[in-house]
């Protein structure tokens, strides 16, 4: 705990993320407004305190409550990003373990595949794949995970290659430990720290990528309250209703900021080489 206190970035980042997660999870209790139901009489109402009433963050071009849409949108964005990170980490760790332990042709193949994938700008690859598989939530998670597994695979593979040669693994092997036991007891625990750091930074990337795709019309589809989609819709109303585009962007920035701070803080805490 005292170690944690010396890393204010972890606390601040964790706090920001916790607030957003709790607010999104509690959306139905925080606001009674319907995020989907249009009300044309209330189109483009400014936020409360700026001339609007009854809508704390105003309403959008269809008269939907923006607070409700941001909170419910948070549920979508956070769940999608978290699932994508989990899937990417799961696949990446397995592939990395296999490549590191089995080696040979499999290792070559996996590493070449990673090279090929990294040669594409992530967003272009994602755009191309979304065009193939469509814009369902499942497809979106798949695309995001596909863009993220390489990081874990490379990290775990490198860790396996180093750890495999250490004396304690040699000792465990001599004492008769099988592959499964070696992985579970000796190798995985030693790769946990970098994986954790990667995952929290990648969460930020995933939120950005998901909202970026939705912004371009290639992610979640209307009328879903996706942050990226809300931004895209708000673009057309910049001159007379600035809050439409401003609010969802703030929400995205907040999550990304929180995850970045957490990731950086964890790296400082867990990676002794970078500690000052």
């Amino acid at each position: 705990m005292t170690r944690l206190a010396r890393h204010p970035m972890i606390l601040l980042g964790g706090l920001i993320l916790a607030v957003v997660v709790i607010a999104s999870a509690a959306a139905p209790w925080l606001t009674s407004a319907d995020p989907l139901k249009p009300s044309f009489a209330r189109r483009l109402t400014p936020p409360q305190g700026l001339g609007g009433a009854a809508h704390p963050l105003g309403t959008d071009n269809l008269g939907r409550d923006i607070l409700a849409r941001v909170l419910h949108g948070g549920r979508l964005s956070l769940v999608l990003a978290a699932s994508a990170v989990a899937l990417a980490a799961g696949v990446g760790v397995l592939v990395g373990l296999a490549a590191g332990l089995i080696g040979g042709r499999l290792d070559d193949l996996v590493m070449r595949l990673a090279d090929v994938q990294l040669a594409f700008p992530v967003i272009m690859l994602a755009i191309a794949i979304v065009a193939v598989v469509g814009t369902s939530a499942t497809a979106l998670v798949g695309v995001l995970a596909l863009s993220g597994w390489v990081l874990y695979a490379r990290t775990v593979r490198a860790a396996v290659l180093t750890i495999r040669e250490t004396d304690y693994v040699e000792a465990a092997r001599t004492l008769g430990a099988g592959n499964v036991r070696l992985i579970a007891r000796h190798i995985l625990p030693n790769t946990l720290a970098p994986i954790l750091v990667l995952a929290s930074s990648q969460f930020a990337t995933m939120v950005l990528l998901e909202s970026g795709l939705s912004f371009l019309g290639l992610g979640l589809q209307p009328p879903q309250p996706s942050w990226g989609l809300m931004l895209a819709e708000g673009r057309d109303y910049l001159s007379n209703a600035w809050w439409l585009a401003t609010v969802p962007g703030l929400a995205i920035s907040l999550v990304v900021l929180g995850a970045n701070l957490l990731g950086d803080g964890l790296r400082d805490l867990l990676d002794p080489r970078l500690r000052q």
């Binding site: 090279d115 090929v116 755009i127 910049l238 600035w242 920035s253 970045n260």
Partner: protein
């Protein structure tokens, strides 16, 4: 050195073949019938079938790939479904706009990111350091599509100083390049800081100070030069990020480059254009990485690959 060069060239070639396979596979699995989109509404099925045959879309996949690879090597990427002219020409026409935007963003990144990092490192734990860290953290957290829109709102809609979108004149370049540069600038600032801090702690820097060199000379001539080496790799990798970022930035500002073209082409299912852009940007990325790796050995004589 020669062996290393050959190995890197071979690796890059293998990567590019992989790129072509991946692009081909992705785009051939796309549902939706391009022939239907090319023909007028209500065209007879026989006409659709004939056009699909003409476009080679009814051959087995591996035949299609062989044909595809042979043409790609010849520089023939097929006809754009949307523009009815060679896809390569359609894409190449858009390249200058993207290069202009990317170079402007790259220049901003270096001109803003490096000094920010230097100030933060030289005045470690000062207000400058914290200010530079805050700028860097914000730069990495603000989504570029939102930053772009907010810049339009402030400088285009409210203050009316700069054009909100479009292409033409230097002024129209300002907002898109700032939008595109924000993320890499933050990255470069942080990297310059950490890399410089590490080097400022080295013996030879102390020697330089001890023999009476002024601080600016120590930092700029002796430390920065070495700090630039890791930065070079990151800048090289950032070209890929910039090309990707250009997709969104160009869409926001209606900038007529490759990024906007690829989004439009996806909506139109214009395969040849999409695959040309994917292959072109991956090739640019692979070549730049190769060059950066080779430059590395020139800049840091300690690195010698066997």
């Amino acid at each position: 050195m020669r062996a290393y060069l050959l190995r890197r060239l071979w690796q890059s070639a293998v990567t590019l073949v992989g790129v072509s396979i991946l692009v081909f596979v992705i785009l051939r699995v796309i549902p939706g019938d391009p022939a239907k989109m090319l023909l007028p509404e209500g065209a007879p099925p026989s006409a659709v079938e004939a056009l699909n045959r003409h476009l080679g879309l009814r051959e087995p996949l591996w035949v299609q790939y062989a044909i595809f690879l042979r043409s790609v090597v010849r520089g023939d990427f097929g006809q754009s479904f949307q523009y009815r002219s060679p896809a390569l020409r359609v894409v190449v026409e858009r390249v200058p706009a993207t290069i202009q935007l990317t170079l402007a963003a790259m220049a901003l990144t270096v001109l803003a990111g490096v000094p920010l990092g230097i100030v933060a490192a030289v005045r470690q734990r000062s207000a400058w350091d914290y200010a530079s860290t805050v700028v860097a953290v914000l730069g990495q957290s603000l989504p570029n599509f939102w930053l772009g829109i907010m810049l339009v709102l402030l400088f285009g809609v409210t203050l009316r100083w700069l054009p909100t979108s479009g292409f033409g004149g230097w002024l129209s370049l300002v907002l898109p390049s700032v939008t595109l540069a924000a993320f890499p600038t933050a990255l470069v600032a942080r990297l310059t800081r950490s890399s410089l801090l590490e080097i400022l702690g080295q013996e030879y820097i102390r020697t330089g100070r001890a023999k009476g060199l002024g601080e600016p000379r120590v930092v700029l001539r002796h430390a920065l030069r070495n700090a630039m080496i890791p930065l070079l790799t990151v800048l090289g990798l950032q070209i890929g990020t910039l090309l990707g970022g250009a997709v969104i930035t160009e869409s926001i500002f209606a900038w007529p480059g490759m990024g906007k073209l690829v989004v439009d082409a996806i909506f139109f299912r214009d395969f040849p254009v999409v695959q040309t852009i994917l292959i072109l940007s991956a090739t640019i990325f692979v070549v730049i990485n190769l060059v950066v790796d080779l430059l590395y050995t020139v800049l840091d004589p300690r690195i010698r690959y066997g």
